[in-house]
Amino acid sequence: MSALGDRAAAVSEWFDGRSDAALLLALAAGLYALFTGVSLVLGYDLGGIVNTLRRITFLSAIYAMLVLALNLQWGYTGLFNLGVAGFMAVGVYTMGMLSTAPTTNPPGLGLPLPIGIAGGVVAAALVGAVASLPALRLRGDYLAIVTLAFSEIVRLTYRSPVFETFSVGGVALGTGGSTGMSLPTNPIRILFYENPQEVTSPPSAFGEAVFGAFEGLGVRAPVVEGTAYALVLLLFVAGVYVLLRRVGNSPFGRVLKAIREDETVAGALGKDTRLFKVKVFALGCALMGLAAILWRIGGIASTEDFRPITTFYVFVALIIGGAGSNTGSVVGGAVFASLLFEGPNFVRRVVTQYFEVGIGQTPNTIFEAVGPLASLDVTPLLAYTLSDVNVSALRLVLLGIVLIYLIQNRPEGLLGHRTETAASVDLGERPGGENR
């Protein structure tokens, strides 16, 4: 345990000497190299490798945005928001109801997608502001419970058959209840298709050219499309990162830190802490809504995606990166998404391929798996462990253990304690100071 801690400390020391940009680039290069290697081991062709990297990039970007948003609330301001999934759901469902066509089931308003996205983000912000009202008077763990309950109220409402389809003033709307809701097509299709809204649309001239070029390399059209979208998401991450850095490195951010450290002091120094908390909740929740929209668009909105476990994922990612640091948030998002979230599945694939643990004879119960151990046959146990369902279960066990380990041994995150001073100017040297 402690050897691992030492190594982590050494790693964080090494990182301290580097600039944040270099750190993020090194991390990206490392993860890409790792997953390229794994893909080669699995015998993927170029298309498969690109698709693997696309998926890693996509998930890392989404989690990075979610973690950045949560970091603003918890890392900077100390507001323990356990309702992340609920605010995400508000963003996605509002966007869906505004922008899906009135003819689909469940029906939407059919408004242009930019309006839908903006509406989703604004709705998440407003709901966040409302949810923050208890935050104004409740201490840490009560706030955690209230926000968690709040997100469950949101989820159960979207899931309720009452709102599966309903009408407001004669206009039909719906959430799709427990079956979910088809969301508008991914806007990246505008680049490649004649009629981006239609799934069956022929590619545009540009799309044809690009698809043709990549087809020759063995990368199929959907992978090209998805890769382009993942790259766009990286731009979004950069945008959110810059935005939150600005928020943090300003007098506003300074007040947030002061609220986290001691709200009474912040108040005694003339800061209207309630107002700051409402703003932080609204801004953070808006970004959560945005991240969720970017995550689900082109697919299906389902209440299953917005269970509390999604919130816990974001928390684990934030704790990995270290609460309070924006760079750490991006690192945490990427490390979580690629290693903890996707990693176990790749481990499963590699192991099943190399140890020829056939899917055919996978034991159905733990007894069938453990029984043969008596005759020193570990294959059934391995096969049981590596079956699809059980890897998913073990992944969550692993997540729990990682969470416990981190909070016990490295509560400040993988990168260690980071100094991101809250000011719009450099607080390092005193400019023109004679005394130094």
């Binding site: 935005l243 600005r246 928020v247 300003s250 007098p251 506003f252 951010g253 300074r254 007040v255 830190k257 002061a258 986290r260 450290e261 001691d262 009474t264 002091v265 912040a266 108040g267 005694a268 120094l269 003339g270 800061k271 209207d272 802490t273 703003k279 801004l283 309070g324 100094t419 001073t421 809250a422 000011a423 719009s424 100017v425 607080l427 390092g428 005193r430 400019p431 100071g433 005394n435």
Partner: protein, 280 residues
């Protein structure tokens, strides 16, 4: 000096009028009939006093006399059960602390409350009033940010000067959590000075400060008083109170026992009695 706001009820208005009659000077802070009890225990029981503009008024009393609670009630950290607080002609009873602070009335805490995970410089720069960059949109929008940066540069210089004066400048980049007890007290003082208020309530500002610095600090308090600051000082060190405060208010069991010059207070038998009684 008609100071009470229109919605005050009869009793308090009477008290205020009486006070105006009595006081000859120019009271900046008027405390009237303040009451506060916690679960049956009365901490402050009808405290009434004035703090004249431009004074360093001492507030003393045995342990449990209600000094810190009075501070809390005056600055809005707690809400009084009844009574009235008037600051600079405005009824600020029950105002939340940030409003009082923005009005120019600030306080330090008895046990220094530092923002541990912020540097000393950040602590100091947090305090000033009217920072444009505290508006979210100004902090973020590219065009609006230049003004923020300009103000931040000024604040940074002001913070350095304040830290220098309090001999904290060599610690500017340290985390406040790493400071010693005396340094914490100084940082608290630095923060309230950065606000540039009209009046500062100091809750035992000298506890843990070394004697040389203590002298300098008291000199500086006097200098600040000359500049127009008003202080209300709670201190256990009687020498400090007797040598530097005028007038002195003695609080006992939540009430004002006597108010007068250090000489008067020193020679009053009731004060001695209160202290002896308090010790037993």
């Amino acid at each position: 000096m008609t100071t009470t706001s229109p919605d005050t009820d009869g009793a308090a208005a009477d008290g205020s009028a009486a006070a105006t009659d009595e006081s000859t000077g120019d009271p900046l802070l008027q405390v009237r009939d303040l009451q506060k009890s916690f679960g049956g225990i009365t901490a402050v029981d009808g405290a009434t006093f004035d703090v004249e503009r431009g004074t360093i008024t001492g507030l003393i009393g045995p342990n449990g006399a209600g000094k810190s609670t009075t501070f809390d009630l005056v600055t809005g950290v707690q809400t009084p059960d009844s009574g009235q607080v008037v600051f600079d002609g405005t009824d600020i009873t029950g105002w939340r602390p940030h409003r009082a602070a923005n009005r120019g009335l600030v306080r330090t805490f008895q046990i220094a409350r530092e923002l541990d995970e912020m540097t000393v410089l950040e602590n100091a720069m947090l305090a000033p009033r009217g920072q444009v960059g505290e508006k979210l949109w100004r902090a973020v929008l590219p065009g609006a940010r230049s003004e923020v940066v300009r103000q931040e540069e000024q604040l940074r210089e002001q913070a350095w000067e304040t830290l220098e004066f309090l001999e904290l400048d060599h610690l500017a980049e340290e985390y406040a959590g790493g400071l010693s007890g005396g340094q914490r007290k100084l940082l608290e003082l630095a923060r309230v000075l950065m606000i540039e208020p009209e009046m500062i309530l100091l809750d035992e500002p000298l506890a843990g400060v070394n004697p040389t610095l203590e002298e300098k600090l008291l000199d500086r308090l006097r200098a600040l008083r000359e500049d127009g600051y008003t202080f209300l000082l709670v201190e256990h060190d009687m020498d400090v109170i007797m040598n530097h405060c005028e007038p002195v208010i003695v609080l006992h069991q939540g009430e004002v026992l006597i108010e007068g010059s250090p000489e008067e207070v020193k020679n009053d038998d009731r004060v001695l009695e209160a202290y002896l009684g308090g010790e037993v």
